[in-house]
Symmetry: C2
Subunit: 209 residues, 2 copies
């Protein structure tokens, strides 16, 4: 197995934290996104989508998506469960995770990719070029504000996003929070549930991954 | 179990086709999206996200996401496998499905929600209101054109999206194709792989769901 990573990018960090929580290590190759290594012929041959993370299995098969990689690793290494131990737990965490991705992660990506000067003409990852849309960055900020408020409410009376257990949904939410902070989006003082949860998940050794 | 559906919406149709392929039937309630029933207090109590599909389990738990619902149903009814029978198959199909959703489904949603007069101020599903962004609709059309071309290439030498087996990735791709046709996006004549595949998947009885 070989894990294609980029230490500065938020998407593969989801997998790195997942691996750290599981206590698994996989031979890793860094892909230099800042210098366009994802568009090299060598990397295109591995992942035609030109994105990381990607996990190459021993038979050559490539899984080119962070969540699919985590689901695969959970099946191979069920303990500790970061998705769930029953079909119902897995479905609940998958749905929560997808909501966080849609309302938080994609919103943050919209802000970053539609405002960063170095990403002009590259407003979406992948092999195709798209121009930046300033209104989309502005919408992304509003969405992130809603996301923080909704997450604070969800965390009222819950230790973690899914309840009393740390899961993949916490990993995704942590990534969004750190992304939002990079985008200079402040977390209002009154979001006390969110602040308590964030302090707890950031203090876990895996958060350094 | 109770399935919350809306027969005119593309997202719950993914679950309906999945159920038809599995030969499962679940008690179903229609949510009248055109008349705003998703924002009623009664439905908010079921799914605060104000979206369909949603699957309510017998203990009251609600899974409010199409793909999480399909993963749950696959675990309860493994045959015929529409995701996969091994961790590797499941991961490959999940990754393909997510790519189709990102590059096709969300692109089509961007076109629909940012151009439809009746969706002014409602450019995203969910409980929050966002204004339409005309440039995003235009980008969505370009993305859909790329999606069709990429899918045609992928289907060269493959009966189905994942290979020789019909999977959830075919369901998602079929939904995008029908969505694109509703948006008056023509499939170029020369995309012969895509046309062959589309004829085959649309002819399955499940496509009527």
């Amino acid at each position: 197995m070989k894990f294609y990573d980029c230490t500065t990018a938020p998407s593969p960090r989801r997998v790195r934290i997942f691996l750290a929580e599981k206590g698994i290590s996989i031979p890793t190759a860094q892909v230099d996104l800042r210098n366009g290594e994802q568009f090299s012929d060598a990397f295109r041959a591995i992942n035609p989508d030109c994105t990381v993370p990607a996990l190459q299995l021993d038979d050559g098969t490539v899984i080119g998506d962070a969540i699919a990689i985590c689901q695969y690793l959970e099946e191979l290494h069920p303990e500790p469960p970061l998705i769930g131990s029953t079909p119902q737990e897995r479905a609940v965490v998958a749905a929560l995770n997808r909501g966080i991705e849609r309302d938080g992660f994609f919103a943050a990506m919209d802000v970053l990719r539609n405002t960063t000067a170095g990403l002009k003409g590259r407003a979406l990852p992948g092999p195709h070029d798209y121009e930046q849309i300033p209104d989309l960055a502005e919408r992304g900020r509003k969405r992130l504000e809603h996301f923080l408020r909704d997450l604070d409410r969800r965390l009222s009376g819950r230790a973690f996003v899914a309840g009393d257990r740390y899961t993949m949904a916490d990993i995704s939410a942590l990534i969004v929070m750190d992304f939002a902070s990079r985008l200079k989006l402040a977390v209002p003082e009154e979001y006390t549930n969110l602040r308590r949860w964030y302090a707890a998940v950031s203090a876990r050794p895996s958060a350094k991954a």
